[in-house]
Amino acid sequence: MTTKQQHTDDYAAATQRAAEPPIGSDDVTGNKATARVLLILSRFTAERPEWGVSELGRELSMTKNMVHRALNTLVKHGLVVRSVDSSRYEIGPSAIEFARYGVANSTVCSVADPFLRTLADRVGETVSLAVRNGRHVVTVFGVRGRGVVARRVPVGRVVPLHVSAAGRAILGHLGEAEIADYTSRTLERVTPETIVRPAALRTHLAAVRAHGYAMTLGDNVPLSVGFGIAFPLFDRDRECFASVTVAGPSARFDVDVALSRLSEIESVITELNRRTHLYSASEMGSEDR
């Protein structure tokens, strides 16, 4: 999992690696050129689908000649086309072929797996994935934290959306009409801490939406036992369909620890959301809204 900046850094590493092995100078030149062309292609995004030669040169510290040659290759393959007035370049029709890829192997578990492992490795605590199923949330997958004592991955656990951080992270990011519909019905009490008053739940969900995460309230597992923090996942239609929870024994993972690791956790969640944004919930096998 890498960011665009990392890709830029990786470009230097990739061209360095291409220069190292004793394969022959033609291969070295070829792999450097390959990295350069692919790096240029990666600059064409939904946010910035058009570029000029000089802009790309400045952005990537390449000569105009290098950029021009790379763009000509991409044009030849239809991945980039000249703009209407020919002064700039934009994503080409052949890129549509990439939109077809990966749907057959894009279950939410396979998409999330490497990110959950990274989170569990970095934070050392249990990370689990839960998907929405109507008015409930189901834990479907997870990676156990390090150490003899760690939170169990509760695969198969089904709880109402307003119970557990995993559920409230999803509920808080649904549309207003859906939240109003949810809170208009009876809210089941699971523990004494469960929020069962509609007004209190709506206030809580507004805070979840504002923060971008939900924390354990002891409404599912007592706070004296465990603590967790959950983040929403969104699909291609920008609808929240699942959540990722980082949870550990309260003795070593509490609010302070979670907040001290927040930016680290959020960076992985952001990268995971870049992936889930590429698929519909139904393509990922999570279709019950």
């Binding site: 033609d26 050129a33 990295a35 994503i91 080409g92 990439f98 192997n105």
Partner: protein, 268 residues
């Protein structure tokens, strides 16, 4: 290599880049994780060359590890490029709520199609949540004449007549006339067994199709009565009004590229 002509490095570089872009095409076609050996076989290249190519492509985010056995799949940069190109059609964003309403009203998979050169491309949609449903297949590309959506585009196109004199052309011309007369196409078992497709155009102020909306699903749960079709088509009326009031929504991003230069392959 010291006595190689000065042009050799560029030739080598181009060959390598072309090979890398062929690797991307291979991964799209196979659509599952593959390793170096299988990639080398698919490309007809030496394993050592492919090994180096894949490492470079992984380093810049076009491939990624799919499993612990060394299998690779297309990486985030390739997949984001695919999503970004679909966003180039302004009508996809404009149609979001209409697609949602059509899904809720029909229960069937609903999709939006545009024309690129001689092909029709599925650029947006919502998949039915029924236990038996048509798959959405975003990015699917077919020759216009081969699907109901494409024939609706041609029937309502700026040059939407079949001018040939052979039997197939005459059949197509008759179909175009019928589509224009009733305003939609209703086909059964065209792309899948027991499947049914309803497709109708969203036209600009001049009556030319900007895109086509389609509903697909199993014939046994598809209400294709005239009343139902009228009701579904009414849902899309506000989208058509919005496009006619805002001509930029009808923009076709590749309209300026000659058909002969569009290298998009049929598939999906």
């Amino acid at each position: 290599m010291t006595d190689a002509p000065r042009s050799a490095p560029t030739a080598s570089a181009n060959t390598s880049v072309d090979q890398a872009l062929s690797v991307l095409a291979l991964f799209v076609d196979v659509d599952r994780p593959i390793g170096v050996t299988e990639a080398a076989r698919g490309l007809g290249l030496p394993i050592s060359t492919v090994h180096r190519l894949l490492a470079t492509m992984e380093a810049v985010g076009y491939l990624e590890r799919a499993d612990e056995n060394g299998g690779l799949r297309l990486g985030i940069n390739a997949k984001e490029l695919g999503a970004a190109v679909l966003d180039r059609f302004p009508v996809t964003a404009a149609a979001t709520s209409t697609l949602g309403e059509l899904l809720r009203a029909s229960g069937q998979t609903v999709s939006l199609h545009v024309q690129v050169a001689k092909m029709v491309v599925r650029v947006a949609g919502r998949e039915s949540t029924s236990s038996v449903a048509a798959a959405l297949r975003l990015g699917e590309t077919r020759l216009c004449v081969d699907t109901a959506m494409g024939r609706v585009l041609l029937a309502f196109g700026s040059s939407g007549t079949s001018r040939g004199r052979d039997a197939r052309s005459r059949r197509l011309a008759a179909e175009f006339d019928e589509i224009r007369a009733i305003g939609h196409s209703l086909t059964v078992d065209e792309t899948s067994v027991h499947g049914q497709t309803l497709a109708w155009p969203i036209v600009d102020a001049a009556g030319v199709a900007v895109c086509v909306l389609a509903l697909e699903g199993p014939a046994y749960q598809f209400d294709a009565s005239p009343a139902s079709i009228r009701r579904l088509k009414r849902i899309a009326v506000p989208l058509q009004a919005e496009i006619q009031a805002n001509p930029h929504l009808a923009r076709r991003p590749f309209a300026h590229v000659p058909d002969s230069e569009v290298t998009l392959r049929v598939g999906g």
